[in-house]
């Protein structure tokens, strides 16, 4: 177990270094930000001054060292587009994305597991088939079309919910939350559904297939033969044993939710990190792109690490396998 964790940690550090290299490569080799910042009217003196300010006149190694040192401390330089420190912008935008992602994940897990169990138990029921068919469409629909569709129905036609922004927010010591105001909660509904729907269908289908497999197992038949209540069999015996793979996939999906938040945030003009990233790509705002890359890389590595360790911790059968595979 310890050897496995150390191996995974080493691998994580390696991945992070690779991501850091890509991020630094962006800085060092991509375009000249001075053009973007100064516009058409500029003198050679202006250009030289801004280059010196940004440290672009330094040699490669110095810049690399400065970048790594800064990245570790959370310093990613100044955004070319917004002319403000990137770390400041990221911190300001992070609560919006995290709130959206967590609410979506909760929706996806809650409804996903519930519907998965339902469709597995009532396998031949009409409602279960309806749910399965709808989920098939949900998987095929691109995220941004789901968002547009929801806006169309609930904002344009029915006028029930806002179509963009976060509504009113309350500042809790640096964390701007939209969860405490009426308009903030209303504004969250459509984006959260858009972002969570795909993950929900995924979790639902996974729970269903795992559950169907477990329900066929011998110990379930024995439990039934022992006269246990159907409810107890389904939830205490069957569901519990389907949860290991579900936890892995759900954990990995958490990363996807944060990545797909880019799309949802653009559709709903949600002022989060994803929208920031898309705007950065559009104008090639390198510091923001590099910072996003580093942060998302670190987040993914962390999630994967936790999921891997959790998986081994939950399922004792894997411990032997993993250590054998590690040799």
């Amino acid at each position: 177990m310890a050897a496995f964790i150390i191996r995974r940690l080493a691998q994580s550090v390696f991945v992070l270094l690779a991501v850091g290299l890509v991020a630094f490569g962006l800085f060092r080799f991509v375009g000249d930000p001075v053009d973007n910042m100064l516009g058409q009217e500029r003198t050679m003196a202006d250009i030289a001054r801004v280059r010196a300010e940004l440290g672009l006149d330094q040699p490669f190694l110095v810049q690399y060292a400065r970048f790594l040192q800064g990245a570790v401390q959370g310093e990613f330089g100044v955004s070319y587009r917004l002319a403000r420190p990137v770390s400041e912008i990221l911190l300001e935008r992070a609560p919006a994305t995290l709130e959206l992602a967590l609410i979506s994940a909760a929706l996806a897990i809650g409804f996903g597991v519930a519907l998965g169990v339902y469709t597995a138990i009532r396998r031949d029921g009409w409602l279960a088939s309806v749910v399965m068919t709808v989920s098939l469409i949900g998987v095929s629909l691109p995220t941004f079309l789901i968002g547009i569709l929801l806006i169309w129905v609930f904002s344009v036609e029915l006028g029930w919910l806002p179509s963009f922004g976060r509504g009113e927010t309350v500042d809790l010591g640096g964390w701007r939350t939209g969860l405490l105001t009426e308009s903030g909660r209303r504004a969250l509904i459509l984006p959260a559904i858009t972002l969570g729907l795909y993950q929900m269908t995924l979790i639902m289908r996974l729970v269903r297939s795992e559950m169907l497999e477990v329900l066929r197992a011998d110990y379930i038949r024995f439990a039934r033969a022992r006269g246990l209540a159907e409810r107890s069999i389904n939830f205490r015996h069957a569901l519990r044993n389907t949860l290991a793979p579900v936890i892995t996939v759900t954990g990995l999906q958490l990363g996807s939710i944060i990545a797909f938040a880019i799309i949802t945030e653009t559709v709903f003009q949600w002022p989060g990190v994803g929208l920031l990233f898309i705007n950065a790509i559009q104008v090639v705002d390198i510091p923001v792109m590099a910072a996003y890359l580093m942060v998302i890389g670190a987040l993914f590595v962390l999630i994967n690490l936790v999921v891997d360790i959790l998986y081994v911790a939950i399922d004792p059968r894997l411990r032997a396998d993993r250590t054998a595979a590690a040799r």
């Binding site: 080799f29 095929s140 629909l141 691109p142 547009i148 990363g255 799309i263 653009t266 898309i278 790509i281």
Partner: protein, 335 residues
């Protein structure tokens, strides 16, 4: 080079030979022409038996044809400003314009551009990017997969490590990042012209892992077989064995992955273009058209948004269905 090895390669590798053995009817009755034999195959029989798949194939083929023939089918050329009349702006579908009396099948956008023509030309770009991106992903993935599976050793370790790392990130995120990086590298004055190629590169690079993993697994199985040993015995070079013997026999599952990848690539392209980091406004793809149409959602011009979205949806669904069917049809376990 001896030709002894020719016997080792099944002549028409996949999928015909995999299927020919199971084809119905005694051998004597079977047709001999290549085309006739294909029609007689198991795969074709399964295809005819699944109406949904036939519909999906028809939809896909007609969309590809419509895209190819767009300059001849489209009533207008949406890229030619001379053919636009601003007076025709916002004409609803199948209704005569109040000023000019012109009628448009699917209406017009704010600049009087025929939505139907724009979709046809958009389909062209979407499909081109989709096919090219899958082609690139296939080229990279199959090559690396063959090397990893047949050569083994450290190249295998390096390739698979990179694949593992890439697989932990969603493909769309990787495509976005590559797009951003590549956009940064292209000089600003060429960005619009290069955007399509950058798009192909980023989607292609984000999607090679599945190909590599599958081909690697297949190549590892093939490498242990007798015909490879025989080829080695007659003295063919490692590269020749890999390309002429192992590769054709490891290609079966690639067709399935390519089809499913095509659907994914079309959606990825649409998503990127919708986000404004894909096809430029000068060469609008379906995603760009949806991006444009979204602006008119609140003012009531629904057709500018609806028709490109429906086209994308139907295309993605049809290709997806084809891919699913192909996966089941070529899976020996499900026979």
């Amino acid at each position: 080079m001896t030709d002894v090895s020719e016997n080792a390669i099944p002549e028409n590798a996949i999928p015909e030979n995999a299927v020919a053995e199971h084809a119905p009817g005694p051998i004597a009755e079977r047709p001999t022409g290549r085309f006739a034999r294909a029609l007689d195959s198991d795969l074709a029989w399964r295809f005819r038996r699944s109406p949904l798949t036939v519909v999906a194939a028809l939809v896909t083929v007609s969309m590809i044809l419509a895209a190819l023939l767009a300059p001849w089918i489209a009533p207008h050329n949406p890229h030619d400003p001379a053919s636009l009349n601003l007076m025709n702006g916002f004409t609803p579908p199948m209704t005569a314009n109040a000023f000019t009396g012109a009628e448009f099948l699917l209406g017009t956008d704010d600049q009087g551009r025929d939505v139907f023509s724009a979709i046809l030309y958009g389909l062209r770009i979407s499909l081109f990017v989709g096919f090219a991106a899958v082609g690139l992903a296939m080229l990279i993935g199959v090559t690396l997969g063959l090397i990893a599976g047949y050569v083994g050793g450290w190249p295998d370790t390096v390739i698979m490590r990179v694949a593992d790392v890439q697989l932990t990130f969603p493909a769309i995120l990787i495509a976005m990042l590559i797009f951003g990086v590549a956009k940064g590298f292209t000089p600003p004055e060429l960005r619009n012209e290069m955007a399509i190629w950058v798009l192909i590169l980023s989607i292609g690079l984000s999607d090679w892992v599945q190909f590599a993993r599958t081909v690697r697994a297949a190549a590892m199985v093939e490498a242990k077989k007798d015909y490879v040993a025989a080829a080695r015995l007659v003295g063919r070079s490692k590269a020749a064995i890999m390309l002429r013997h192992v590769a054709p026999n490891a290609m079966g599952p690639v067709l399935v992955i390519a089809t499913i990848s095509l659907a994914l690539a079309i959606i990825a392209e649409a998503t990127l273009s919708f986000l404004g980091v894909g096809a430029p406004p000068t060469q609008p793809s379906l995603g760009t058209l949806i991006r444009i149409g979204q602006r008119f959602l609140f003012s009531g011009e629904w057709w500018i948004l609806l028709f490109p979205s429906l086209t994308l949806l139907v295309l993605a669904l049809a290709v997806n269905l084809l891919g699913d069917w192909l996966r089941d049809a070529l899976n020996p376990k499900l026979r």
